[in-house]
Assembly symmetry: D2
Homo-oligomer: 114 residues x 4
């Protein structure tokens, strides 16, 4: 029997980790594109999003009193990143947009359940 | 077709994320034990380990030039945390020790493959 | 002449860095107290607070679109940590409480100025 | 009288925080340059460097057993970032290169003193 503090957080932790990796992958791939300038906002949002997703995962894993509030802001950042990445047709951007949307949904679900 | 930068890093990224969550869960559970003092070194190592695992995941996901070097240090921290957690019979410590050992192995494999 | 993106953020970045270090110092010192159990909530809040302060510093230094929103949540976490640390008479807790209060004020000032 | 755990770490913590902010400022400024493509490696190293500097500051502030080993790797990353930023004449790159060199020196000094 597991004694994980908050098993109900696991799906959101997984979504946050997947989103962070997708954002990191996307920013690196964006920096290798021919037209990097066009990807500037995407790269900046990828950085914001990867950072807050990893911190949200940490807050949830520790069962922090502020996990839900952080997830709320994480959903906002993920949505902004999804909107920007969604504008670009490259696989790394499309994969990132999808991971961001899933993470935003998981974070919003955390908030609704709280 | 995916355009993930380094698909060969994925297993180690997953091990790092699992280890970070296990460490965070363990530190919170340790703080709820009756004898917290006995768990002090465990908590401190959990903090170190969770932090470096998440940073290693980020370096790998971005395909950083320093991913392998960071994984080498991550393996050292994970091993120290596994040794300490392994001394305590609680489920959260045993689960953490196991996640730390798996992560150390995955990080060492990264280094060997580099 | 400097080309720092947001010179008006510098005071808050400094307060965040000082608070993060005070929280980290406090958690380590708490783990060395005779009665660690009494310090459990302090340690947990120190972890939350150090993490969000460093991320707020990063968001500000990058001029993130979400810097102000993150500072707002950072102020909430800092205030909670200040309240808890303020209950304990040890130097490390008192110093941490003071750093947390200063950081909360700096973060709130960011929000007011936005 | 302060009860900071490791007052001898303070100069290096300060150098790490200054370097992290300089790297973050540089990456954002690089993304606003006309020729972003030329700055791609600079941006990637800025990200690596900011992240490890903040984690090194955290390890030092907590008096981690691994603070010195992390500082050693931090010095390597800082030196690589300084070399790349030093190639570009923009103020943000020159300021970042200088902060990276100072941080590398402070991290190496930590290692020598250990």
């Amino acid at each position: 029997m597991s004694d994980v503090q908050h098993p109900e957080y696991q799906a959101c932790i997984d979504a946050c980790n997947a989103c962070a990796a997708a954002c990191d992958n996307c920013s690196t791939a964006c920096l290798q594109e021919d037209d990097v300038k066009m990807m500037a906002r995407c790269i900046a949002l990828d950085m914001d999003c990867a950072a807050i997703c990893r911190m949200a995962a940490a807050y949830m894993a520790r069962g922090s009193d502020f996990a839900v509030q952080l997830c709320r802001l994480c959903a906002t950042v993920c949505s902004a990143c999804a909107d920007e990445c969604g504008k670009h047709r490259m696989d790394h951007c499309q994969a990132c947009a999808q991971a961001c949307r899933r993470c935003a949904e998981a974070c919003i679900a955390m908030d609704s359940a709280a």
